[in-house]
């Protein structure tokens, strides 16, 4: 019983880390007014870029260094996702295309790119079978020595790869940035009222670009974590990243745009997602019904959020709209 609860929690934490990274990236982006529905696509792109990067490194190096593996994976993932964010920013901020349409297109594009290369990278490189980057995956999955051996507390808190802790720290840092720094204040002003921000001398376009692109980069790290830890350095064309990406978008509303809430919110989503696996006596078909749980809960959260009307709990006032200074 205890072991199954522990393993449920572990599964939830690992799952939660993926969407937590997706969520805080999206919060950063939405705080600047960019509602980026390309989160699944960006996670895909981050994931595949990291996979491709280390695939070639591991193929070239005799003894891949774990540190370089991690660095390459994170660098490629962040960089590619940043580039995807740049594309989104260019279309929505500079060309003022509708954000929803652009985001959905980015999701189609990202899933295409990722699944295309994920499925045929090995073939393109002349290999056979599934792609696998075990050295990097092992590096990502290295647990904290000694601490992880403590009974109960060890598995509960210390038996994870470093990205789990990184995500929590990133959430706290983002919370601090948004609420305590003047750049964070400026960023929030951009998302709330770009014309007020503009009149105050804030470079609205620059803030929007940076927040959207860096946000996309963080979201992309969620994808990196997904391939390297969650599915252990392989690739699966099963559309899971897409599901996780959308849950990350839903989590943003759940947290009322506060990164600190994403820390526990993400783990709750993780528990819900894996609950079916640990409920005894389910058949294969009834498991499918239980897998609806996170989506149903998200819907309930959406409904509950819509009941509230406190101004500070709503999203940025200018979310989803483009800004043109000379608009009359």
């Amino acid at each position: 019983m205890l072991t199954s609860i522990l393993s449920l929690i572990q599964a939830a934490v690992v799952f939660g880390t993926v969407i937590m990274l997706g969520c805080i990236g999206e919060i950063l982006s939405e705080k600047s007014g960019s509602l980026n529905l390309g989160v699944p696509g960006i996670m895909y792109i981050g994931a595949i870029a990291a996979l491709v990067g280390v695939f070639f490194y591991e193929g070239a190096a005799e003894n891949p260094s774990p540190y370089l593996c991690i660095l390459i994976a994170l660098g490629c993932g962040f960089g590619a996702a940043f580039a995807a964010g740049l594309l989104f920013s260019f279309l929505t901020i500079t060309l003022r295309v509708n954000q929803n349409v652009t985001g959905l297109t980015l999701t189609i594009f990202g899933s295409g790119v990722a699944n295309f290369f994920g499925g045929s990278l090995n073939k393109l490189a002349g290999g056979v079978g599934q792609i696998s980057v075990s050295a990097t995956s092992d590096a990502f999955r290295t647990k904290i020595p000694e601490l992880s051996d403590i009974p109960i507390v060890g598995p509960l808190l210390f038996q994870y790869g470093f990205m789990v802790y990184f995500a929590v720290i990133a959430a706290i840092l983002l919370q601090f940035f948004l609420t305590k720094t003047s750049a964070g204040l400026n960023l929030r002003a951009v998302g709330e009222s770009p014309d007020a921000a503009d009149a105050a001398g804030i470079h609205v376009i620059r803030y929007k670009y940076l927040a959207t692109c860096i946000g996309a980069g963080i979201t992309g790290l969620g994808g990196v974590y997904y391939v390297m830890d969650y599915i252990k350095g392989t690739w699966a064309n099963d559309g899971s990243i897409e599901k996780l990406g959308w849950l990350a978008v839903a989590l943003v509303i759940f947290t009322t745009w506060k990164p600190k809430n994403s820390i526990w919110g993400a783990y709750v989503f993780g528990l819900l997602y894996w609950a079916y696996y640990y409920i005894p006596g389910l058949t294969r078909s009834s498991q499918e019904i239980f897998k609806m749980l996170p989506y149903i809960v998200t819907i309930i959260v959406l409904i509950v959020v819509s009941f509230r009307n406190k101004k500070e709990n709503l999203g940025p006032a200018h979310l989803g709209r483009s800004y043109f200074r000379e608009e009359r």
Binding site: T94, G110, N237, S285
Partner: protein, 377 residues
Amino acid sequence: MQYETGKKSALNQKKHREPFLRIAKRDSMPFFQSWGIRIAAVLLSLVVCAVVIYAITKMNPLKVYGAMLQGAFGSKRKIWITIRDTMSLLCIGVALAPAFKMRFWNIGAEGQVLVGGIATAACMIYLGDVLPTPILFVVMIVASCLAGALWGVVPAVFKSRWGTNETLFTLMMNYVAIQITSYCVSLWENPPGSNYVGVINPQTKAGWLPSLFGQQYMLNVILVLALAVGMFIYLRSTKHGYEISVVGQSENTARYAGINVGKVFVRTMLISGAVAGFTGFIAVSGSSHTISVNTAGGRGFTAIIVAWMAKFNTMTMIVISLLLIFLEKGANEIASRFNLNDYASQIITGIILFFIIGSEFFINYQMILRGKNKEVA
């Protein structure tokens, strides 16, 4: 003054130059010019795609497009498959048109199609041998429309009552529908353990849309085109269509005019969902004769972009649907020739969509280069 922030010194280091490029809003553009820009965007995107394809396959880009044409229109069978898929994409686009015209972000077409498909498949499995053919079809159509309508109306009810965000709501409804489909697949799987439903009623063909004029998919074409024309008239010439436009432009104006905004939301989403559910019927009864989580195949999302680009005009959607399906089929052809996977088509679709949506900017805005403005004075 003690309050001065003393930034003037920084300014002296700045170069006194006017901006290189300025952007101004355009009043309006003649019809042919705006379509010229859109066509140019498609052509440009095809060039970019050719470069991408060349980079991956090292194939002569011109031959690539030749191969794509062959993939989409190379044989009679291929032509009909292309037409069939165009119709199914168009049908979802038609379903989304009223919702999007009302500025209701129905991202849930995927799920609405799926539940329509499930309803159809259920009728075929449980009633296929029980009911006479005409009644069976009526029951199937009604069931699929009702299922789709139900899926569409739930978010609309909450939106109209509490303003619940419909974008994520409809999206989550997709995943609920996918799980229900998985459940049904494991319930109906044939042979057991395969996790596939397999072709339903392969012998009796009960509940299969019949061939017309010797063409298996002719009936699909007629039904979907009729729906497209019907929706065009509904949106343009009826009172309901007028209400949808007013609500889409401004809910305040709608209330001012005495339009019950919530009622319009619910009614329109019933229609939108029902048509999407009907697409599920066409997909199951009229083409695949089976059900799986891939029955909608991501078209629910692609159709959103079709509807948006067509500015909710269902006639324009025919052209755009055909273009996108052509690209999909063509990319699949290339993928299979090079032993790559089908996701290549999504990449190409994505690139082309980026260009088309980006081109709207050049229709709505104009750019003024530095130095050009002296002539105005």
